[in-house]
Symmetry: D2
Subunit: 260 residues, 4 copies
């Protein structure tokens, strides 16, 4: 079984990149299951009902989110009725939606997909290290594989989270920085790990946003309007091969640049 996980999809350019790449990869690389981070899918911030359906219709089986999960307020209205949309599990009790879900792979095995936010340089949520332990307990005996999207800023927290789950999850993939890292590996316990899968969207940009706006912000300190960039696209993902006993055997980076 091979899982494709796509890094933060940014706006229309990101969705276009998904449209072009997912069918191709599924076919050429024999992908069995597709997960994607969708926290920036709607114009760079959040996700709408329509875009959720668009992405789920284009071959993505599960969407994970991050700190931008609530940016489009309408998500509050539909997240409870869409089990394929997973939000960070470490929001305080009572938040709408689910922090993890159980899904069935084509071979009949079950895979749990969870999403957690880091806290270093980010929002004050519940402890993700503690929370992921509770997730594993609550899933005990119910799943064959555990897949975690850890949405975090600081490399220390991300790498530590990977070690924390080594041997207990099939994969821990980082998201949020929008820059793909080159540290993909199978940890000694059999967990596929990467610090950040990277961003899927406009290539000549600052994390998906028009570079002129971000530069103006850094140089002048004045407020600017952020807009999703245009031009060539990039598609960032990893392909993870599952093995026996809930482990992974392989993780490969995908970083494609092309015209939209």
């Amino acid at each position: 079984m091979r899982i494709l996980f796509i890094g933060d999809i940014v706006g229309k350019p990101g969705r276009r990149a998904v449209e072009l790449m997912v069918p191709k990869l599924v076919r050429e690389r024999a992908i069995d299951f597709v997960i994607a981070n969708g926290e920036n899918a709607a114009g760079g911030n959040g996700i709408t009902r329509e875009i959720t359906h668009e992405l789920l219709d284009r071959g993505i089986h599960v969407l994970t989110m991050g700190n931008h999960v609530w940016d489009k307020r309408e998500i509050m209205d539909f997240i409870d009725s869409e089990p394929r949309l997973i939000r960070p599990a470490n929001y305080p009790m009572g938040a709408p939606g689910r922090g993890w879900g159980l899904f069935t792979l084509p071979n009949g095995k079950r895979i749990a997909v969870g999403n957690f936010c880091g806290r270093v340089f980010l929002d004050n949520l519940d402890c993700p290290f503690y929370g992921v332990g509770r997730m594993l307990e609550s899933l005990h005996g119910q799943t064959d594989y555990v897949f975690v999207d850890f949405h975090a800023e600081a490399t220390s927290e991300k790498v530590a989270f990977g070690w924390h789950l080594d041997g207990r999850a099939a994969a821990v993939v980082g998201t949020h920085t929008h820059v793909q890292t080159a540290d993909e590996r199978i940890l000694p316990g059999g967990t596929a790990y990467i610090s950040d899968v990277g961003m899927t969207g406009p290539h000549d940009s600052v994390l998906g946003v028009k570079k002129e706006a971000i530069l103006r912000k850094f140089i002048t300190g004045l407020p600017v309007r952020f807009e999703t960039a245009t031009g060539p696209l990039q598609f960032c993902a990893v392909i993870i091969t599952l093995g026996d006993k809930g482990k992974a055997t392989k993780i490969e980076r995908v970083f494609e640049r092309f015209d939209g």
Copy 2:
């Protein structure tokens, strides 16, 4: 001309990796000039006079630093007399040492090496975007190539810094996160760019530190003693090929794992 730039060298394991890899790479990859980030070279924090000399004796021509520059206080005593040791240029006026220096390549061309710290999630220093402009002005007509180590945390600030210098520097290489990124590229203006070169030191660690300590910190919130990890090594670097008119033509990542 080919420049080897080595990412944050952490402690004795990092220095051992340098000892093993630099002569090999210089020979096999026809390296002409070696630059390395040494902010963690002494036991994980800062650098000493002895270690500065050790690294400069092992084939490194210039050392750059970062937010840990002053961790070993003795640097205050020798940095003014060691022009090959470059500290972040955006410390307020009056700080010891130099923020950039001019060096001669084997072909007689001159290369300026500068070091700047980012400010997002880091210390309050002078603006690096403004500062690097002043560096370029002060170097005007004096150098053939400009090489910048941008030591920063946030990907937004790093990517923006790359675009800021596109066409004006031969290379902008990121350091500090200790995780190599996979976004190396030649920007349209001819500047070699990577968000982070990564860490040179113990492979099975959290950014070079014993993983058990970092995990205990994240899980318990209690203070822990950080120690440089042991075991297998990793060597993270980039090789940049210089072209005409102050530009770069190629950037390749190096990420080697081996036993020390």
Copy 3:
């Protein structure tokens, strides 16, 4: 000469408190000159042209700002033509508006009013410690008194800024936290100092905002809409008595609660 300085005026309730209190204080406490922080005067964030005029018409001679200075974008259009509206001086060169201005007191003496933002836990601006030195140099010989509104979060930075200017300014008053501090004093060099003057606006609130919204934010982590609170008002200010040679002789806190 007695200066009244009013802490962050929040929205309509804050402006109502100004309307009620300023004429009364000017009369009863023999105030000669009125300065106020107006960064939250328009609905809690920023200031408009109309509200600037409203406040200047109600007896305020100079308005200072803070990190919310640009929240109402229209300020960009009129700040250059309104010398009585002072924005933080430590925005990078080229920002619209002025960071300090010279005004004439009723007795013919001149007073310079400056505004700086702190950087700890706040935006990355130019160094306020360096900047205020440049302000003093540029004012050399042109003013009788220097008055500084230091808009900052961290008490360490604020108290340090007071000591930095002791003997060089008549007054350093802190703003931004919206909570009045009880540490008003004349420093040994003759500078009137207080860490924070406090907030002028709705009394039963969290810093001027409806408390239910802020509490919901802290408890759930979910986004909420912030609205200026209603109900009883509070008026926070200090009265500073100027002495000879650019010094102050007295600083008194004003903290009035009343129905609007």
Copy 4:
């Protein structure tokens, strides 16, 4: 019943201020019970066994702590056996010590004293808003009064915490910023509140530390050695008068300056 709560005691000067002021206040103001924040009691950082005993012998009944609780590592060895030393309750489960304790007032009534850390601009701990709810539940029916030291940086979090407990605690007193605030009040539900009680220690300092060192740090960005300041002392506290049904009827600030 009247409770004296003393703000962060800093080093030897702070302990000297306690020695001079506590007996005097107990006598003159008819104090029945004394609580103090001791997180900086040992040389500015943390507390030792010896200093704990010194303070408890000088008339303090209960010591609360804050983010510096673990700075002197020996606390790990004795905190479990000293029920009068209360550390922030929102450290993850398993931390040494207690987050609250039950004590008996001279009139036989019971008072629970709890300690929580804020999270805004501070460490990533468990949610204090949720935690204090759990404390109240676990104390249900066992105590006559609840007293909370909320050790936090941001005024928004502190004021919100006060409202959160209004009518459920007799007192919520803020600590940590080392600057006394002037917003003491009895909230509508009968809870005595102040955002920060202030610092007990050297008066001419930056939060207790030598001002020259802190200024040098802000101006140069270079590391400095922080030392507790010397010279005149200040004593910051509040006196809270308890009423019926777990409420408070009065809160008065104490801010004394004197030679040691």
